[in-house]
């Protein structure tokens, strides 16, 4: 018997038992579709995070006060020392490093911003000129903080889009005055509503020069120093330089932590990869269930077609040919089911992508291939036992059924 005839015959048999075939296909295709959609979501989340990080720039290094290994109980706390703060002078010393391209400092607090009787409690970010470029934000109106010495206090403020809406409605705020706490600031610009960037809502905030923020909140320390290295290749060197410079300035004590964007990205990447693998595994269980269904369907098929099997034997079909016929039928079922599942899964991912355009849902290639592969192998494995049963039937007995 030729292979093409196996397929032709098996296909005819499947069409002949249409309801059962369709139910089987539904079971198999839903299993595959589940794998595709779930891995699509998992991988979409991973890529979403990655693109968020990429928008921050991948040669970014973040300096935070305190050594991460000693967080909690630092050795200093036993000798009456607290963690040494990061200061503007620390930041300025880093600008002299050969690998530093741009630098921005951040200090954060909350205060109410008011204009006339309108009043709103927002996050106040004290920073410097390059902050805008490092975060890849855009201005909607006016300009950002001027490029001046970080140590100079200036009574200028840049508003987030939401805050501007609240206080000024459609008016042009540039040149107007607002009150922050007990000080007056002149509005010089408005940030474009770029949305969110890592928990910082660009809309609901106000930005002032770092020195102004420090005197506003009466503190000399910085929350973060952001350093953009000249390029990705010098990232490690930049990290070393930063630590050395600050160690020197802090009496030989290494009391800062430098995180690279890459490391954080890697962590997220790993988390989401693991997540994707585990949802894929959970969804794959449904493929096994579908496999058991295939076996069930094939066993019923064998017992209903006993007379046919007897006839085929009488007509000269060899044992292995009967076995192949039923195996091909099982595999055909699972391949068809898997193909339909891939299509349903793809449609599912597209629907998600339409509803959430920012979220790049889409199953990774490995998931598509392995879903297909697993379902076909399942069909084959669970098809073996019914096919063997069919092949072993006694011709005389089968014909009398």
């Amino acid at each position: 018997m030729k292979w093409v005839d196996y397929f032709y015959f098996a296909f005819g048999a499947l069409r002949g038992f249409s309801v059962r075939t369709i139910l089987m296909l539904v079971a198999m295709s839903f299993g595959v579709a589940a794998v595709i959609v779930l891995t699509g979501l998992g991988d979409g989340a991973r890529r979403f995070i990655a693109s968020e990080f990429a928008s921050l720039g991948t040669n970014l290094l973040i300096v935070l006060p305190g050594k991460s290994e000693t967080a909690g109980v630092s050795p200093g706390s036993f000798v009456g020392q607290t963690t040494r703060d990061l200061t503007i002078d620390d930041a300025l010393s880093l600008t002299r490093n050969s690998t530093t391209d741009r630098i921005a400092v951040i200090t954060v607090g909350a205060a109410s911003v008011s204009r006339g009787r309108l009043d709103r409690e927002v996050t106040i970010v004290g920073t410097s000129h390059h902050f805008l470029d490092i975060y890849h934000w855009k201005m909607a109106q006016g300009r950002f903080l001027p490029k001046t010495d970080m140590r100079t206090e200036q009574s200028v403020i840049v508003l987030g889009a939401t805050l501007k809406e609240e206080l000024f409605k459609a008016e042009n705020p540039v040149g107007e005055w607002v009150r922050v706490g007990d000080r007056r600031f002149r509005v010089i610009g408005v940030i474009a509503s770029e949305g969110q960037s890592f928990g910082m809502d660009a809309g609901d905030m106000a930005i002032v020069p770092v020195s102004s923020a420090q005197s506003l909140f009466n503190q000399a320390s910085l929350f973060r120093i952001l350093i953009e290295a000249k390029n990705r290749d010098v990232l490690e060197l930049a990290k070393k330089q930063i630590i050395n410079t600050l160690k020197e300035r802090h009496q030989g004590e290494e009391d800062v932590t430098v995180i690279s964007q890459d490391a954080v990205l890697q962590t997220f990447d790993n988390i989401f990869k693991t997540l994707t693998y585990s949802v894929a595994g959970i969804a794959a269980v449904s493929l096994i269930v579908a496999g058991i269904l295939i076996m069930n369907v094939m066993l019923i098929s064998v017992s209903q077609r006993t007379a046919e099997i007897g006839l085929l034997k009488a007509l000269g079909a060899k044992t292995h040919e009967i076995q192949n016929l039923f195996l091909v039928e099982a595999v055909l079922l699972s391949v068809l089911g898997a193909t339909i599942g891939l299509i349903i899964g793809d449609i599912g991912c597209r629907i998600i992508a339409t509803i959430y355009p920012d979220f790049p849902a889409g199953a990774p290639v490995w998931a598509i291939f392995s879903a297909f592969f697993v379902s076909v192998v399942t069909g084959l494995l669970f098809g073996v036992s019914p096919a063997k049963r069919a092949a072993k039937l006694d011709a005389v007995e089968a014909l009398s059924k």
Binding site: E308, K313, L315, K318, T319, A395, L399
Partner: protein, 229 residues
């Protein structure tokens, strides 16, 4: 001499503790081109004999020579090949595959034998014409009358050009007119040289054969040579 030789064939079924002899020391010679009817009451072993002749069943003891070849020792594969090439079956209940058309049913032995599709179409067309089934070619068995179904089944049995036709009550499910028609077709095949072996309950049908074998309790009780008309 070509033909079939059965020597001391025994076929025993185990029913509980008891051994039942479906065939008890049966010896039989059938010449090529012979026409034989096997008669006898239910349980006399005639179907078992037919199954053994058709290589669907194996004797427990005894020797079976098919065209001078001892095939008792053939493997299952070899027996299947012999069935495919040399033996055509016609059944009382037709055994057509319900989802296949008449033409596809007739084609089945060729598919199993691995004949390529061009050749298959050619041979099926030819046999459809010679059996007058052309206008029924694309009908499914459910759309055919009993007589037509048996004609399809016979076309299927002969498409491989077997040397022997085994018919188990071929007219058992048919009205008189269709039954007569079927028998005439079978006898026509016999005249062309195919060995014809019919199992039947119908004494009238049994008398038409060259030789009538009467069975009882797994043994050949009598062999009657009829006038060859």
């Amino acid at each position: 001499m070509m033909g079939i030789d059965l020597k001391n064939i025994n076929r025993v079924f185990q029913v509980g503790d008891e051994s039942v002899y479906a065939l008890n020391n049966v010896s039989l010679h059938i010449d090529a081109g012979d026409y034989i009817s096997i008669m006898g009451p239910s349980g006399s072993g005639k179907s078992t004999l037919l199954n053994i002749l058709g290589l669907l069943d194996r004797p427990n003891t005894g020797q079976y020579l098919f065209e001078n070849v001892d095939i008792s020792s053939f493997s299952d594969e070899q027996q299947a090949l012999t069935r495919s090439e040399k033996i055509g079956f016609v059944f009382q209940v037709f055994h057509l595959v319900p989802r296949l058309t008449a033409a596809q049913n007739i084609e089945l032995p060729l598919v199993l034998a691995g004949v390529d599709s061009e050749e298959r179409r050619h041979r099926v067309d030819k046999i459809l014409k010679s059996t007058g089934l052309v206008d029924r070619a694309h009908h499914k068995p459910g759309q055919l009358s009993g007589g037509q179904r048996q004609r399809v089944a016979m076309a299927r049995a002969t498409i491989m050009n077997p040397s022997i036709i085994l018919a188990d009550e071929p007219t058992g499910n048919l009205d008189r007119a269709s039954g007569k028609e079927i028998i005439e077709v079978l006898e026509g095949l016999n005249k062309e040289g195919m060995t014809l072996i019919i199992v039947t309950h119908d004494p009238g049908l049994g008398r038409r054969a060259h030789r009538q074998i009467r069975m009882i309790d797994g043994q050949i009780e009598a062999t009657i040579h009829n006038e060859v008309g």
